[in-house]
């Protein structure tokens, strides 16, 4: 199909990126100054892209919704970042990282992209160290590694339990340097509300100044979207309160295809839900599964007693504990990929073995404490333990943690080609907001790798390749009619929401949507459930547009309006997720259709019919249309994922 | 608002340097005061005072010291003003964060110490410079020396008979005073300016009189009100020092994980021992 040309370069897998770089077009330094690049989002992908493009000499404008670029939710990533450095000499290589990522993604990712990711992974670590990122080190003074889910080698670099924070601060510092040098201009507390497309190319954005409520127009020769994922469609997730898929939806509505929306990652180790007032779920890093053992009681009556508070975890003798991951997957044990660990927890809880509220399993450190000593465990996970204790009021050194899966990451996103360009020329998408590298399931410590790979080492090349042809185009004044049109659309949308003056608050509706999504489009999906979900989502959508109640202050900080605007877009996305899940009659990675499982309850892929990327095209006033990009595995042998 | 255009850390370093000098001076002053406790009729104490009052190097240091005090006060006050300006709208609920002992009250304890210093200057330093009336001391041997010099002059016929008679009269009067005053045979002590005139006549300058700090101190320390003020001042000084000493080390970057604990303990010891050394003197005087 002509519209979905993934533009994969020629050559063998390991030569593709080299070939691309050798033949891409460049812009000379004098011209770079004349070219405007808009970057939306300041997470790992956005900040690193803006910093790198600024350092090259382009005129960069970077936008974020928070008060500072350092607040982006990349900061919350805990465990680590993968790279094929093979420092521990345990058999790692670029090929191995590539293979693990493809396999972890359940053979639903594009080979060439993933190989490039593995290739540049090593540069990321070098880059970060040069920025002063304080990665953990051994007594030798060299970098330390730990292992993560879905891998049999130790390739994860980490900075205590705050790797995302340190990497983001590294990118933020690089960005700060460019801001000081004047090549990057920073605009904080601005939310992108619309994309401006002129003559088929992305030419600018409309933002809303969240403090004054003013709408502003910005021109760019190209626009880079790095706005993260849409996990908050589920309301309760490990995402930040402000994380949203709104900008991506705006682009989708302007013609960018949205790929694989149903691939939503449910993270197995989160602090369980307590009550209705709860606003978010807190992740407990996957790295905990290095030393923690997951179990539930073997006997139903023990589980019952624990739930009723008659027994505690410590009352259950060793022989009555069911370490179900170790039992089911002896080869990978507690370190199976996330989707598998999540489903296994759900399976045990559904069978009645859950603890806590019934929707929780134990993550136990007693054997690690016995083996390594409390100090060593504290050194590795101290801050996570403290975090848990503050929330749960229980000491994880003494009683096992209670955890349960929660929405964490979205593998789906804007469809991009090899250059990370969407179907709208001049609109690029990087990081979690594109769909490209993780297939149907992302491995732990790979999101940081992908965000930084896109920003530091991919976009600076591919954006330049695009801009090389743009040197002939003068900046378009923001008085252009397309800017008028785009701004009017936003004005209209805001006016409409404010005019409803209904009775239901945004949070109430968002929670309702979340319930529907978790219930029917969550960990285990069925055809009936999905078919039920679609009208339910439609119902919430209708109630939103007829009964939402939003605080009316338009010219000052108004978080309610911000939330409402995002919810409007999330409602759009919710039905797209459900639609995509319905369409995909197979189980793969994070997408588990209960109809499609093996007798042992494992996911059953259908490579014959579904080895493609489902990219959705928005149709005004009609149902979206799906386009297929077939996945051709030339270099890897497609197998059934097996972690036993 | 920046009243002095220097980096904030530079200003702090200056305050710290001035403070450090004062910290070094304090033990010397304390040692001097402790001489009062010696049961020698004030001999040691007077000797120290004499040395301090007459040595030129010490005099130079005195000026430096005074400047230190002044600049320490002026600078900290300016910093305080600047720091207040950094929070134009204050909190409705007073701050309840845990802070280093004494640190919140430095400007107040410092101010009170300043008030005490003025009192102290009036009592001692100004007496020395003659700005206020004090008590004075004259050495017996000085008087004897002066008389024998004069007697020698008379014997050699350089002086008239009438002078001789006048001298004898003067000698008698001083000797009479001496019986009353020079109990230990070494000093005529605790004399007011009036006493000096009465006993030594117009030529009092010849006898090299000096302020009688020993008796001035002992007299003051017999005044319970003064003792209370004095002791309170040293409690306040202790509070000031509890933070001040650590603060100097911190400002000069001399604290680190390895020995900051040791420094903190040393600071506490210093902040207690020094004021205690000062305080012990009036306690002993008033009680024994």
């Amino acid at each position: 199909m002509a519209t979905l040309n993934s533009k994969i370069p020629q050559g063998s897998l390991s030569e593709k990126w080299t070939n691309y770089k050798a033949s891409q077009k460049l812009v000379n330094p004098a011209n770079k100054r004349k070219l405007d690049v808009i970057v939306v989002g300041t997470g790992l992908a956005g900040a690193s892209a803006a910093a790198s493009l600024g350092a090259l000499g382009f005129n960069v404008k970077v936008f974020c919704i928070q008060d500072s670029p350092r607040r982006a939710h990349s900061i919350a990533a805990q465990g680590g970042i993968n790279a094929a450095k093979n420092y521990p000499n345990d058999g790692d290589s670029i090929g191995r990282l590539f293979y693990d990522t493809i396999k972890g993604g359940d053979y639903r990712a594009r080979e060439a992209n993933v190989y490039r990711l593995a290739e540049v992974s090593n540069n990321i670590i070098d880059q970060c160290v040069a920025q002063g990122v304080p990665f953990a080190r051994d007594y030798s003074g060299y970098l330390a590694n730990r292992s993560f889910g879905g891998a049999q080698v130790s390739r994860t670099f980490y900075a205590k339990g705050q790797t995302g924070q340190q990497l983001l601060l590294g990118a933020y510092s690089a960005l700060s340097k460019q801001i000081k040098e004047g090549t990057v201009k920073l605009y904080t507390r601005r939310e992108m509300e619309n994309l401006v497309v002129i003559d088929g190319k992305a030419r600018g954005i409309i933002t809303r100044d969240l403090v004054t409520g003013k709408l502003e127009r910005w021109f760019g020769h190209c626009v880079v979207l790095a706005t993260g994922g849409y996990g908050n469609v589920y309301y309760l997730s490990t995402n930040a309160m402000g994380s949203n898929g709104s900008a991506a939806v705006q682009c989708y509505k302007k013609g960018a295809y949205f790929a694989n929306p149903c691939y939503v990652q449910i993270h197995p180790t989160c602090i369980p839900v307590h009550g209705d007032y709860q606003s978010k779920l807190t992740l407990m890093s996957e790295s905990l599964r290095n030393d923690g053992r997951i179990w539930v009681p073997k006997k139903l009556e023990d589980a019952q007693a624990i739930r009723e508070g008659k027994k505690t975890a410590n009352d259950i003798p060793e022989e009555d504990r069911d370490y179900y991951l170790e039992r089911r997957y002896p080869a990978f044990g507690n370190l199976v990929p996330r989707d598998i660990a999540s489903r296994a927890a759900k399976e045990r809880c559904d069978a009645g073995y859950g603890v806590g509220t019934g929707k929780a399993v134990f993550l136990d450190f007693s054997s690690a404490i016995n083996r390594l000593g409390k100090d060593k465990v504290a050194e590795r996970y101290g801050n996570l333990f403290q975090m848990y204790q503050k929330i749960e009021d229980e000491n994880p050194y003494e009683t096992p943690m209670k955890i349960y899966p929660a929405v964490h990451y979205t593998m789906g996103g804007l469809w991009v080609d090899y250059e990370l360009q969407t179907t709208i020329p001049g609109l690029f998408a990087a990081g979690e907001c594109n769909f490209s590298d993780h297939g149907a399931n992302r491995l732990g410590a790979s999101a940081l790798m992908q965000g930084l790979a896109d920003g530091y080492f991919v976009l600076p090349y591919t954006v330049q390749n695009y801009l090389a042809a743009e040197i002939y185009n003068q900046p378009i004044p923001t008085t252009h009619q397309e800017f008028d049109k785009a701004e009017d659309e936003v004005k209209e949308r805001i006016a409409k929401i404010l005019s409803i003056k209904g009775k239901t608050t945004v949070d109430t509706l968002q929670k309702e949507l979340g319930h529907v999504m978790w219930e029917y489009v969550g960990m285990g999906r069925t055809k009936e459930g999905l078919q039920k979900a679609l009208p339910l989502i439609e119902n919430v959508k209708q109630r939103f547009w007829s009964d939402v109640r939003v605080d009316e202050s338009e010219d000052c900080l108004n978080p309610e309006l911000e939330k409402a605007l995002r919810l409007a877009d999330h409602l759009e996305l919710a039905s797209l997720i459900a639609r995509d899940a319905l369409q995909r009659e197979e189980s793969c990675g994070g997408h588990f259709r209960e109809e499609h499982q093996t007798e042992e309850g494992e996911a059953k892929r259908d490579d014959e019919n579904f080895m493609f990327v489902g990219a959705w095209e928005y149709k005004e006033g009609a149902e979206p249309q799906m386009h297929k990009e077939d996945l051709n595995y030339e270099f890897i042998k497609v197998q059934t994922r097996n972690y036993k | 608002m920046k009243l002095i255009k220097l980096a904030s850390i530079t200003k702090k370093l200056a305050v710290g340097a001035l403070a450090a000098f004062l910290l070094i001076f304090l033990p010397f002053h304390m040692g001097m005061n402790l001489c009062i406790l010696r049961d020698d009729g004030g001999e040691w104490y007077r000797n120290v005072c004499h040395f301090m009052g007459t040595n030129y190097i010490v005099k130079c240091f005195e000026i430096v010291l005074l400047l230190c005090v002044v600049f320490h006060i002026v600078l900290t006050f300016i910093l305080w003003l600047e720091n207040r300006a950094a929070r134009p709208v204050r909190y409705a609920v007073s701050q309840k964060s845990k802070t280093h002992q004494g640190s919140k009250w430095m400007i107040i304890t410092g101010g009170l110490i300043f008030v005490f210093l003025i009192l102290h200057f009036i009592n001692f330093y100004f007496a020395k410079t003659g700005l206020v009336e004090g008590k004075y001391v004259v050495k017996v041997e000085k008087v004897q020396k002066a008389f024998s010099a004069k007697a020698m002059a008379i014997q050699q016929g350089q002086m008239k008979e009438a002078d001789m008679q006048k001298l004898q009269k003067e000698y008698m009067s001083i000797m009479a005073a001496g019986e009353k005053l020079a109990s230990d045979g070494k000093y005529y002590v605790n004399l007011s300016k009036q006493d000096l005139q009465t006993y030594f006549g117009e030529n009092v300058e010849e006898y090299d009189y000096e302020p009688d700090f020993y008796n001035m101190a002992r007299d003051l320390f017999h005044n319970p009100l003064y003792v209370i003020i004095y002791l309170l001042s040293f409690v306040i000084l202790a509070i000031h020092l509890l933070h001040g000493v650590v603060s100097v080390f911190q400002t000069y970057g001399l604290m680190n994980e390895k020995y900051s604990k040791a420094i903190s303990y040393l600071a506490i010891i210093y902040a207690i021992v020094i004021p205690l050394g000062f305080a012990i003197v009036p306690i002993q005087v008033i009680l024994f």
Binding site: A130, Q131, C556 | -
Partner: protein, 251 residues
């Protein structure tokens, strides 16, 4: 539990603010502080009492540094080593009156209600809180070994989340702990050493320019820092500053 809230309300940066009192009933002790405020806002909207209370928050897991409320005289409230979002209502008692104020400091002007503008922190970082390595062309990550204790210490210094509690807690509204965290991190690592002297001078200068107070070593910052950055960072920065002024030949 039932609570009385006294909350600072201020329409915008220029408006004059005041305290408003609200009552809340039946709050679960398991609720987080910000969730309690969510409940309040839900009530304010539903009952049409007032505009909802604006407060900054984002990740709600204590790492983004967005949230920051001055609760009963302490930044981030009565718990140690937590951000406001990690504070739970079990730290309060039934019937308590809770006074909530925004951060108060000249460089942190109030934008609305409890929201303040902390872009001053960004400006300090922009003044020099980085190594000048641009993308690409850097040596292998293991080319320079770094002693473990130094790397660990750098990590501790780097764990600052830029929430501003140190400024809010300091009686002088000093930003020394924030600045010293970054200065320390980069001064401890060989990669940051190259520019250490110029960095500390520039960052301190910017900090002063922005109107933060100076440090009087009260260490309230250390007591309130949700990430428990240590005062030794400030000592290290002072040391770096002296070295930069005295030993460095760079102007």
């Amino acid at each position: 539990m039932d609570l009385t809230l006294k909350i600072w309300r201020q329409e915008n940066a220029k408006a004059k603010g005041h305290f408003e009192t609200y009552k809340l009933t039946d709050i679960s002790p398991e609720c987080s502080f910000l969730e309690m405020l969510d409940i309040l806002n839900e009530q304010l909207i539903n009952d049409n009492i007032a505009h909802p209370v604006c407060f900054d928050n984002d990740c709600r897991e204590g790492i983004c540094g967005m949230c920051g409320l001055y609760i009963n005289g302490r930044p981030h409230g009565p718990d140690e080593g937590v951000t406001t979002c990690q504070l739970h209502m079990r730290r309060f008692h039934d019937g308590d009156t809770i006074t909530i104020e925004p951060w108060r400091a000249k460089p942190f002007p109030v934008i609305k209600d409890l929201v303040v503008d902390r872009s001053a922190f960004d400006k300090i970082i922009q003044a020099g809180g980085y190594t000048s390595a641009t993308t690409g062309g850097v040596p292998d990550a293991n080319a320079i070994p770094i002693p473990k204790h130094k790397a660990d210490e750098a990590m501790d210094s780097a764990s600052c989340i830029g929430c501003g509690a140190c400024v809010a807690a300091c009686k002088n509204a000093s930003a020394m702990l924030f600045v010293s965290g970054k200065v320390s991190q980069l001064a401890l690592l060989p990669q940051g050493k190259t520019e250490a002297a110029i960095r500390v001078k520039r960052m301190v200068k910017k900090m002063d320019e922005l109107g933060f107070g100076s440090c009087t070593n009260t260490f309230a910052c250390e007591a309130e820092c949700p990430k428990q950055l240590k005062r030794t960072n400030i000592a290290r920065m002072n040391r770096e500053f002296i070295c930069a002024k005295v030993c460095s030949e760079e102007k």
